[in-house]
Symmetry: D2
Subunit: 215 residues, 4 copies
């Protein structure tokens, strides 16, 4: 039995029920295809995420660590390609802290590539009719920070790490005064579950798959 | 028991299974809240839609006629406000016919307003967590043509008429090489059903509801 | 010598110098190709625009009346096709008044088509390398209201009337904290001038020109 | 006198006159604020750019190397933050070669940060009313490849290196059948010139400037 940790984020701004956190809670305890999934809800707190991630990894020694988060305005699920060593926050976190051009980890490399098989995941998403793509930027906010921390941990462990970005859920988008893209929570749950299973069970090199025009 | 006709469109271009047609088929025969719904799939044929609409209205004498269609690229469901007396096709229909700046009905008025209670529908959509808005253009293609024909029929009958525009379904969007907005087919089905029930049962003037910034 | 009135709007919200008003001022007094252009800056006041338009038309008896206004978020200049008899304001005007689903003119028709030669204007814009299209919605705010009033006046006079919508100017867009589309003020000035000259001098029916996919 | 090399790209696909190449040609020979600028037009050839860049840097020993390129669909000028060690081409280059998930430089680091003072450049652009932002992805095509190569060269030389991305020019956008964002070539020329001068003359650490929400 392989072990996958899936993190999501807790409440933030107007989003009392963050869909990434809701998925992490709902997926917790799932066992499928020889994989056991542990869900973990992280606070949107730049100061707290590192210790929480490290503790959970130490405790569970997972094969895969998948961070998830919401990107308002995107239209599809994304496997992120690269985590960047920068924190440049457009708005403060839940502790009221913002950062401008600071490193996630001092003396860390400029970036880490996701070690999830992102093209194999993309293919699996397409096979399941899930709108998806490979994204080349995870931004410079907490999603990227947590993604970078996960990759940093993974660089010295037998563990894969990566970030799956999801759009707003349709229920959240319905509350927006102007139309904004979304997907059904069910679709995004299936996307995260699929990424977890493929990441745990894909063997060998990633697929060679044309990613499409996304930039 | 009130009667509502819901039309959708059949296959077109790459869309072998048009979601508006799929919804019209699935909703056919539904009875709820004192309303019986008849679904009708129209061909994407500018020359055929008028006779088919007129025949079905003559046969069923409905209280409400709701046309539905897909608008690729939109992010939410829309109650259209106004049908315009123009056909200006970006691409040919299934018969290979295109039109540039021709009238839907010669000597018809420049436009008809939807006689569905579009703001009451918008409120009901929001209450059900469906991403939605009021749109001020139905384009100049077959959706608008059919919408205009429906309103023209309704202008001399005790019948409400309007157009509900839906985005791509997530399953269709998943096949796009570049990310494109979508909603779950289930969400759009519920949106069309809700519009049908509200249109049949709403009494008196439409709600006075701020529509939001959509242009 | 033919006479064209070009209106633009005055300051509004953060836009102390509205580009449509700036163009109306700059173009005032221009004489070219047998056309004399009068610029007029209108306040963003739903209660004031009708009397101001009527007075200027009575005074100058123009051959053409072109209303211009800004649509934040658009990427190109647009010749609007249709003015709708509705006022549904997303935000109040300079007098603090908002309207929900009220008529511009009670008992007026649902819509007027622009009587500018919009396809000939589109062709002339393309010939001059100006990014442009034919738009099928002028929204439901003051631009549409003024456009409808202009068409209503034109319906009983030997005068053409229409609306040219412009994006933000690049200078205004530069002040936005998030990237937003724009064009150079010079490009938009040339677009308005071109529309004025073509509208005054184009004879016979409008061109039959494919408008492209814009909805 | 400081020396800055500004590269742009040559013809590609429908773009017989690539605006980045046009700017590189036009800016060649400019001397201003103690800076001499050399323009260089690179072919859109993955196999050719490395040797051409290296040769020009060896010949001129510049203080700054700025790569420029076009990103179709963007709305503003961007200072790119990070170059990634990956080539994942959506379409082949002029030699007909495409790449899927290959390294720009084998054994190179995952990414390099731009060593241009990107926030100081952003501030200077805003001061000059140029719509602009800091972008966190340069894509995975030739722009990113050349940017990565420039940063790789700069890592062992007393030279700053970075990428300025520009949108389509308005003249190019005017030829698009559907509306697409653009800026005036003059605006983009001024943006590149400003980036060159600031990069050569800015001393000390970069500004601490909020970048805005761009992801």
């Amino acid at each position: 039995m392989k072990t996958v940790i899936v993190t999501g984020f807790g409440p933030y701004l107007e989003e009392a029920q963050n869909p990434s956190g809701a998925i992490a809670q709902a997926i917790h305890g799932t066992e499928k295809d020889g994989v056991r999934i542990h869900g973990l809800v992280l606070p949107v707190s730049a100061g707290a995420v590192r210790a929480l991630l490290e503790e959970e990894v130490r405790r569970l020694r997972p094969d895969v660590l998948i961070v998830t988060g919401v990107t308002r305005g995107r239209v599809a699920v994304a496997a992120e390609r690269v985590a960047v060593n920068v924190m440049d926050f457009p708005i403060p976190d839940v502790d009221g802290r913002a950062f401008i051009d600071e490193a996630v980890i001092d003396d860390g490399p400029a970036a880490y590539f996701s070690t999830l098989p992102i093209k194999a995941i993309l293919q699996a998403w397409r096979d399941r009719d899930i709108p998806a793509y490979v994204s080349n930027t995870a931004g410079t906010y907490l999603c990227n920070q947590t993604f970078y921390l996960a990759c940093h941990l993974a660089s010295s462990l037998p563990m894969r790490a990566g970030l799956v970005h999801i759009p707003l859920s349709s229920a959240h988008a319905a509350a927006s005064p102007t139309p904004i893209p979304s997907l059904a929570l069910e679709t995004m749950y299936e996307a995260v579950l699929t990424a977890a299973l493929i990441s745990a069970n894909h063997e060998g090199a990633d697929l060679k798959l044309q990613a499409g025009m996304t930039c």
